[in-house]
Structure formats: C-alpha cells, structure tokens
Amino acid sequence: MDVKAIFYKIIFVIFVVLITSFFLLPILWLVAAPFSAQATLRVTIPSVVTVKNFCAIFRNTFAVRALFLNSILIAGGTMFGVTLFATLAAYAISRLNIRGRDIFAYLLVLFSSVVTGTAAMVPVFLLLYYLKLIDSYLGVIFVLIGGLLPTGIFLMRDFVESLPKSYEESALVSGAHPWQVFRDVAIPILRPGMMVLAVWAFVQAWGDFLIPLIVIRSPSKMPAPVAIYSFYTEGGTPVLTLISAYSLLYAIPVVILYLLVNWRYGFRFFGGIKGGGK
C-alpha cells in the first residue's frame, strides 16, 4: 500500500515536471533573450542583464507608435465596439420576446464558426476595398468587431439571463422608464460581465495578426504584430535583440489582463472564450 502510494506520487511528480516543461520551455526565450546584450536563439541566463534592447526600441518612433498608438487604438476600438454592441444586443435578445430568438442565437453561432480565419478574409478584403476602408484603422476594427460580436453576444447573453428580471420589473413598477431601468439597474448589475467581455475582446484584437496584415498598408498605421516584421536587417536576417524585447513588451498587457481577470473573477470557463475570433 505504502509502496503503491509512493509509486503514484513519483509518477505524478514526473508528469507535472514534464507538463510544466512542455508549457514553459518554449517561451523561456521570450523572457531571457530581451535582457541579454547579444540575443541569439539560444536561451541562456544573460551574464549581464541589460535593458539596452528596450532603450533601442523606445528610441525607434516607428516601433513605439505601432505598439503604443496603433495597437492600442485597434484593440481599444474593438473592445469598445464589441462591449457596447454585444451588451445592447444581448440585453435586447434576452428581454424582448421575439419569437425565434433561439433560432437567431443558433444562426449566430453557425455563421460565426463558418465565416472565420483566412476563408473569411477573401470576401472581407474585397468588401473593405470597395468601402475604401483598406489601410484604415476603422477597417481593421470593423472586421474585428464583426468577427468577435457573435461570441461576445453569446457570452453576454449568459450574464443577462442570469440577472433576475424582478430587479428590472421592480424598477418599472417604481415608475422608471425603460431606458432608466437599463441605465440604473441593468448596466450596473451587468458590469462584471461587461468587464470580462471587454478584457476578452481586447486580448483578441491585441493578438490578432492576420487582419491588420491584410488590411493595413502604410507603416505608420501598422500595429505591433505587423510592425515587428520590420526588425530585419537589409539582408533579411532578424534582429533578435529587438524582436525579443519588442515581443515581450507586446505580450505584457495580455499577461497583466490575465492576472487581473484571474485575481478578480478567477479564470473561469466562459463557453469557449477564445473561440469565434478570427
């Protein structure tokens, strides 16, 4: 019995070590390389920790603009649009008795899973082309919103459905107009849900690469994930010091948001939180 228990314990420890290494090792480079003076593809604990690479990036106006203006604009705009429109729509769907709202929900999931990835980009690109939205922030933001809305509405609908109607009804009977009910009662109670939704939309838009790659043309509008591909020498070899430092800067907001959500709400499972995006 005891031998068996020890045996299981050892197996467990081995498994944990393997799993941890599997998930940790590939990104170690991202944490180590930015701080070494001669970053290579090798992961070493830098003998001299340096922030020189970061200084170089902060001197590069193009890179700074991409990360701190373009990426934030795109992710922020998408976050704002998705949160606002998804909340309004989810609230309306849940609080209005349209017949066949389940069908609506059904079609929403169906379309969002069908129209995704590069397949969707073909017609969407042409659409933007004719709408004269190529090479504009708005073009990227619109496509991102369109892609994220179905999942966003779904996420939000769960929150709205879990809000007892008696709050709103009580406010109605108290003499409040429907828009007062929405503003004073529904929105404050839905705020945690909206926060989760906003964080999710931000992270999705922040990390998206394909859409800005296709839509944005001028370097001054490129967000970080596209701009990073300019850190190559004339000869086409990557400048690893800059790339690693820039990658790290670019990844940090996601880590922070993850920690924030994890601490505030626990990183629970929100029906395929990552799905549906592009």
């Binding site: 940790l24 480079w29 309004l88 609230y91 008795n97 169906l110 129209v115 619109f142 919103i145 970080a224």
Partner: protein
C-alpha cells in the same frame, strides 16, 4: 425553472434600436461575405491585371483547377495542402490537445495548490499570448543549433535534429498542441467539477479501480463534453493561421495547410477568384463541423444538461 413570457421590459422600438448595430455588423461582415464569396468563386476576380478591372464569369474552372487530379498532390497544390491539413488536425487536435487536456484536468481534478496553479497558468498563457510573440519564441525553441528542444534532447544523447527542415509538419503540430491544450483542459476541468462528489465516493466505496472508475462513471458523464471539445478543436485547428508565422508553410510547401494556401493564393498572388473557391470549400467544411456541433448541443439541451 419555469419559462416565463413576461411583457417586454423593453418596448419593441427600443429593443430594435439596441439590436441594430450588432445586426448591421453581422450582416455586413458575416452574412454578406458568405454570399459574396460564393459569387466570386465563379469569377476570375483579381486586384491586378486585366481581370482586376473587369472580372468575368468563369464557371467552375476555379474549382476544377483545385481538383485537377493530375497534379493536385504536387507540393504547393491544393491536394497537398488538404492532406497536410488532415494530418495537422488529426495530430494536434484529436491526438494532441484533447487527450492532453483531459489528462491534465483529470490529474488536477481534486488537487489545489502550487502545481495546479503553475500548470493551469502556463497552459492558459500559451493559449492567450499573442500569436506573433509565441511564434518567435517557438522559432527559437525549435532552432537546430541553439534551440532548447535540441539542447534538452542532447541530454538524452539524441543528436541535433533540424526540425524546420526535416519535420516541418510535426513541428507545427507540436506547436499547436502547446498552443491550444488549455481549451480542452479548462473545458474538462469545468465538466469534472460538475460531477457531484458523491459519484466519486460511491465508486471508492464499492472499490472500483481507477480505470473502472474512469470507464464506468467519469467517461459517460463527460462524453458530451468530449464531443464538444473534439468538434470545436477540430473546427478551430482547421482554420488556424498562426503556424504560418513559424514555418511560413515551408520548406517548399511541406507544412502548408489549407488556411495558408488560401492566404497565399488570395493575398500573395492576388488571385481572388481561386482564393474564393478555396474559401468556399473551407467554409463548407466549417459548416459541416458547426452543424454537427450544434446538433449535438441541441440534443444535449433536450436531455436537460
């Protein structure tokens, strides 16, 4: 819960105003593209050249080119991409992410503490970090001369492997397992959390072995989640584009999936007609997967879960 049809809390006009922006976006960026891509797939639309100014109707020639069986298995052709995709999906989704996610969820089901926090946080990070950042990290990880992977394998006496050149497809499969396992892990750990503790205890009391317990109690209870995970992961993996950032589909198209193929045809060669034809095929496959998923969902909600 009894279902109640209340008088609308929102007056109809307000409700429709609330719905309007979402509907507008969905119609423009979701529904309209589906219809349009169908139309384009029968034309020779392009952004450059003579077809750029006046695309013309070319019938099914885009499709027949894709399925030109004389040459479609050659590297860089559609058939090659399709076969790669099947291997990629089978390897990374069905054999990789789902079993690994289930194993992690099972292992940590009743454990709290540091090891669980560590594994869950790392897996989740791998899932949510920006694709570009992790792609560079993986290029470094897989590097023949300096990469961590070879460094570790050398400890076990395995000599250097040129992952990019010799095993490009396996490389992106490994990457995708790393990238996406968190979804299955979180799904299964939520599902296991929903199993009442008495179920486990009963099994303990009657003295079932671990395997019997899994087969007779756990597995039947999580089977619906297993299907959900399989289908969703398949759907996402089929469409995923991030591995392009690692291999670019190369060398010589040996790791090119359908998603990358579409990108190359439409946005590198700017042949939108042919790109649209591939898109139509991809969307049809997506449609089939999504329909299976939704009908499973619906059946499940009929059984009240």
């Amino acid at each position: 819960m009894k279902r109640r049809d209340y008088v609308s809390i929102l007056p109809r006009s307000v409700a429709f105003a609330f719905l309007a922006p979402a509907v507008l976006f969905l119609a423009t960026f979701l529904i309209f593209p589906v219809i349009w891509v169908l139309v384009i797939s029968f034309t020779n639309t392009a952004l450059t050249g003579p077809a750029g100014t006046s695309p013309s109707f070319v019938g099914v020639s885009n499709f027949s080119q894709l399925f030109n069986f004389a040459r479609w298995m050659r590297l860089g052709e559609f058939g090659n991409a399709l076969v790669n995709t099947v291997i990629f999906v089978l390897g990374s989704a069905l054999l990789g992410q789902v079993p690994l996610g289930l194993a992690i969820a099972m292992l940590f089901h009743k454990r709290r503490g540091l090891s669980r926090e560590l594994v869950f946080s790392l897996a989740t990070m791998a899932w949510i970090l920006p694709g570009v950042a992790v792609a560079f990290a993986w290029i470094a990880f897989l590097d023949k001369d300096f990469g961590n992977l070879n460094a570790i394998l050398s400890v076990f006496g395995i000599s250097k492997i040129d992952w990019y050149f010799d095993f490009p497809l396996y490389s992106i499969i490994l990457f995708n397992v790393w990238r996406g396992t968190a979804f299955s892990m979180l799904l299964f750990s939520a599902a296991l959390g929903n199993i009442p503790p008495s179920f486990w205890e009963t099994a303990d009391v009657i003295g079932a072995s671990a395997w019997q317990r899994f087969r007779d109690i756990i597995f039947p209870l999580i089977r619906p989640n297993l299907f959900t995970a399989l289908i969703l992961v398949t759907l996402w993996t089929f469409n995923v584009f991030t591995p392009y950032l690692i291999t670019g589909g190369g060398p010589l198209y040996r790791s090119e999936t359908v998603s990358m193929y579409t990108y190359r045809i439409a946005f590198k060669f700017l042949e939108f007609g042919r790109g649209a034809a591939v898109a139509v095929i991809m969307m049809s496959i997506n449609f089939i997967l999504a329909t299976i998923y939704l009908s499973l969902q619906r059946r499940r909600s009929l059984y009240g879960r």
